[in-house]
Symmetry: C2
Subunit: 341 residues, 2 copies
């Protein structure tokens, strides 16, 4: 009623009666930083709401910073944010908007979705970050128009998500596509999750760095350490440094990368066979450091997958570092639309 009255008093200025254009806020919460974008109905980025680093990872500090990102997104003009999507590097309960377990943040259960919804007075949808990236690539990126897409996320961790028959599969606990913890070497290397032989324990960024360190140590002990680019005195490298050393010709890094690509390809053949997605989109920071991975995965699937799965296409994502935030925003958009309809 009050709304109707206000409209009547505005009656003389028709342009003011139009609702401002719809916007959707997407937030990407990773293990070391969070960033946010505001997109329009078509998924085009209209505004970047900024980035914050998790120099402290306790939930109150991180949540307070994320709420500031939310405020910055809500303030963006022109437009009006209708819904908020959150993609988080965690196991989540999408129905209730809960973070259940975020290894890289060291979080247990955090009711992040309801907290943001209260603060922003907007509907909030929270999903796993790899699912968000998959959704974004499906809606406006490399998977546009496909009925099935597997989004494989290669970064510090390994994750995934899948569009099954035109819908994002959430699974029973919001973890569908969590292929980082698919067993790839039965009884193999210990993973951070406590199990052994997970794919992530071979091709995740942390595992690539760890395997490089072990290889350098083994060479050192053998006394035949070649002059290379991996500084043997360093206590740790990042996967990015290992990839750079590989490109520069460091023999240890080359071996580590070759083995990494073998494990990546073997796991990808398994995904093509077991999920039959027709299309795999590779997302995440890893690919920028090792672009040949796309062709390697493509070839392995063509030559080694089951006869029909061998036709699975493989593409690099198109949204780059924005995939999670844009995907989360579009997931919120489509949820809002679904509720409205």
């Amino acid at each position: 009623m009050r709304r109707g009255v206000r409209r009547t008093t505005d009656g003389g200025r028709p342009s003011r009666r139009r609702r401002p254009p719809a916007r959707f806020l997407g937030i990407d919460i990773g293990g070391t930083k969070a960033s946010a974008v505001v997109v329009d109905r078509t998924g085009r980025i209209r505004h970047r709401a900024g980035t914050v680093l998790h120099d402290r990872k306790d939930p109150p500090t991180v949540v307070a910073r994320i709420l500031r990102l939310v405020d910055a997104g809500l303030a963006a003009r022109p437009g009006s944010v209708r819904a908020i999507g959150v993609g988080v590097a965690a196991q989540v309960d999408s129905r209730q908007g809960l973070v259940l377990h975020a290894g890289n943040l060291g979080w247990g259960r955090v009711a992040l979705g309801p907290r943001i919804a209260r603060h922003a007075d907007r509907p909030v949808r929270l999903i796993n970050d790899a699912m968000a990236a998959t959704y974004g690539e499906w809606r406006v990126g490399a998977g546009r128009g496909a009925r099935h897409v597997f989004g494989l996320s290669l970064g510090t961790g390994v994750g995934g998500g899948m569009i099954v028959d035109g819908r994002l599969a959430l699974g029973s606990h919001g973890a569908f596509g969590e292929v980082g913890h698919m067993t790839i070497v039965s009884g193999g290397r210990p993973c951070t999750c406590g199990h052994r032989g997970c794919w992530e324990a071979y091709v995740g960024g942390w595992a690539v760095a760890e395997r490089a360190r072990e290889a350098v140590r083994a060479e050192r002990r053998s006394g035949r350490l070649p002059v290379g680019f991996l500084d043997p005195r360093a206590r740790q490298w990042t996967a990015r440094q290992v990839f750079a050393a590989h490109r520069a010709g460091d023999p240890i890094a080359r071996r580590v990368v070759r083995e990494t690509l073998d494990h990546l390809a073997n796991g990808a053949v398994g995904i093509a066979n077991a999920f039959d997605p027709g299309l795999i989109v590779l997302v995440g920071g890893w690919i920028a450091g090792l672009p040949e991975a796309v062709e390697r995965v493509r070839r392995a699937i063509r030559t080694s997958a089951q006869p029909t799965a061998a036709r699975t296409r493989v593409r690099a994502g198109l949204l780059g570092e924005d995939a999670v935030a844009v995907g989360a925003a579009l997931f919120a958009r489509d949820g809002a639309v679904a509720r409205a309809g």
Copy 2:
């Protein structure tokens, strides 16, 4: 029109005007035999249409025998078969009803669905056998009422299917859930599919038998062959014989079974993590020979899967050897219903 005329002439006997009760014919085509059942709307088996063995595996011979099974099913009284479902141990194109590749039958492309449909003048739906078994367990077996179910089929081969959010996932090429060719030991044992390290190459019935043979050979070479139940002069055993020898205390069979259960458990942890099904139903002939596998898989998932996936329940199927035929029949029922509605 003719039908209407006939009805009029039957007008004096109202009981004859009723349509006979609806029945659905389900056919299970495996690598060595085919069998068929007729079920009513509730999935109850009303009739068994028989079994035929593939002593010859060429498509014309097998198809002719399957058409005889179809005729026997159509002739079953009372009732009238409304639709036919076919579950086949093969890669299939469900949309067109084609067998694309059936390794155990040695078939390439066979237009089986259209052939049966022409012969029987009924709608025919054709799916992979593990998918059919999953569908059956979901509709009337151990997965009844669940929104998500992964059906893991353990037999000579290893296969699977999944109900995702209340629908059978077919995948891009009708092969969703083909976890037998998920990589479990990257770079490991050669599989019949040409790739290495597939799960089936460790836990499929053929692989269990092959590993037992290798273990006996190795013991023989070492000169310390213990007195056991696995006859070292035999050229081949079946998995069932290996399991029986294990139960009887044969030390080689026990070791082979222990390793098999380890690989089974590690793969199942990967399925719980990557497909997040909430419920895994174990189907196929293997489980009858090694019932402790159910508890072993259950325990591995509880202790080694991701925090949420660790809640995944594990059950043995309830439909036994009828799972594929009953599931195919119900898949045809639901397809027919969907078309009618």
